[in-house]
Amino acid sequence: MKDMGTIAVFVIVVAAVALLSSSGVTLNFLMMALYAMLMAQAWNLLGGFGGQFSFGHALFFGSGAYVQAIAQLNGGINPWLALPLAVGAAAVVGAAIGALAFRYGLKGSYFALITLAFAEVFRILALSAPFTGGGVGLMLPLRRAASNLQFDSPRGYVLLALALVTLGLLVTAWLRRSRFGARLQAVRDNEDAAQALGIDPFRIKLVACVLSGAFMGAAGAFYVQVFQYIDPGIAFGPTTSIEALLGAIVGGMGTLWGPVLGALALQALSELTRNLFGALPGINMVIYGAVLVLIVMFMPRGIAGLGLSVRTAWKRRGGNDHG
């Protein structure tokens, strides 16, 4: 399978850079890029393949992050074991929100609004609930050891994020060649027609929401392990939601490599603006906004779509030469 080949090349190249490079700057960049890819992939599963545009993916991110932190702080659970718990919790939140939104037929901007609203509700709850540490947030005790999922160098985190992104790539590749994926895309393109062909849109969208939530929860748990800190604003604030959808939209929705390319491009852009404008707070969000407008206007299919149209144009030309 062609997808498997390109995924293997991606894994080998990234792993090689991670293992061979000793530059802290390179490794940090790679770590943050992979982390952004994971969020964009999560959003792409539901938004790109399912056509359900969430504006509140921080909901799943924060659920994963808090479960990862609380399981260690209050439950004394090893972070490696907390990770599946965090992913599971985010998946459950995905199921609950999906069931609620899709049962009542919320689509398009209504779905975007309900996800946004729930993320805000969770943020406010996290500010006031006792077990989340309120506005102060939660801090993990620093104890660097691979067994404690805290690595001495970014290299360890890069490899962990690479494993998660690879899983995301495999799931996305599976969507492209499975009955479930075909049905999900059918529901995205035309729900009535899909129903007439025997597809239950509710069930299909719900499963996509669970999958998407699980990956976003993994990103949240990853964040907690890297920074050993989480607060309601980071966990459930709009910045995370925007980062997730931006990566997927800029890269190309509903494609395998779009979220990877989009997140990489945005990460590079954010590094660049940081170097150019120094520590001007929030400047990267301003630039992101401008990029989003430009992409939506001139490249609605994203970076991956650009490659695609070049390829079809090439094929066409080839076809005409023969004919």
């Binding site: 499975s178 049905r183 895309q185 393109d189 035309n190 009535d192 027609a193 129903q195 007439a196 062909l197």
Partner: protein, 250 residues
């Protein structure tokens, strides 16, 4: 005589004060090719929608193959063997013709490869074999109508409700499409078609129902109903007579 495949009893659908479908009863024999005609706004598409589960009827029953399916969700009806096409074609535009048809085939085939192979076979039956790898968005209107048909066929439906598969086609395209529909019926699939193109109705249907303002006003063979006074009145007089003459001898 065998039990009819589809029985509709006293079906009514109202939108506010408007009775779009008003106490309609009909029964569709197995392996038949029948047509539902009527002036614009007669309630034909609403009737299809309420039979196939897209609309919940306010009164009446729908019995498919001996089971009461009144108000059952469309995807369950499709699984039971009944599917509809749409007057305004609804392709999965981002996907190729092959992928579009495979979505239908997936109803009974789990494997991707097998579903794509089945899609190819179905495409051949409706004359789309040459366009399998084109995006559905690139098809002509005639191509899209064939695609609607192919997707529905791929679900291995036993009853097809075709909503104006000939609308918007030119005379040549209609002439090309008629054998396709006849071929489907000859294969043992029961077909009910909503159609305005009388040439096709006269050519294809063994039995015709006429709907006007939500009510069934006539039924019988195509020749019978086109002579029916109530039918001609429903189509607002002499305009219809002229149209029929044109349609019979194009």
């Amino acid at each position: 005589m065998a039990e009819p495949l589809l029985q509709v009893q006293g079906l009514s659908v109202a939108f506010g004060g408007l009775r779009a479908v008003d106490d309609v009863s009909l029964s569709v024999p197995r392996a038949s090719l029948t047509a539902l005609i009527g002036p614009n706004g007669a309630g034909k598409t609403t009737l299809f929608a309420s039979i196939s589960g897209f609309l919940k009827p306010d009164a009446g029953r729908v019995v498919f193959d001996g089971h009461d399916i009144t108000g059952q969700a469309p995807h369950l009806n499709a699984r039971a063997g009944m599917t509809r096409t749409f007057q305004i074609v609804q392709p999965f535009a981002a996907q190729t013709v092959r992928e579009n048809i495979a979505v239908g085939a997936h109803l009974h085939i789990a494997g991707r490869k097998a579903a794509l192979a089945e899609a190819e076979q179905v495409a051949r039956r409706v004359g789309l074999a040459g366009q399998l790898d084109r995006p559905a968005a690139e098809l002509t209107v005639a191509g899209r109508k064939r695609l609607e048909l192919a997707r529905a066929l791929a679900t291995r439906a036993r009853l097809l409700l075709l909503d104006e598969v000939l609308a918007g086609l030119n005379p040549q395209e209609i002439a090309d499409m008629i054998p396709v529909v006849r071929g489907i019926a000859a294969g043992g699939i029961t077909v009910v078609m909503i159609e305005h193109v009388m040439q096709a109705v006269m050519n294809l249907a063994a039995h015709v129902w006429v709907l006007a303002q939500g009510r069934l006003i006539a039924q019988g063979s195509p020749a019978q109903v086109t002579r029916d006074r109530k039918v001609i009145e429903a189509y607002l007089g002499h305009g219809t007579a002229a149209r029929l003459r044109n349609a019979v001898s194009p």
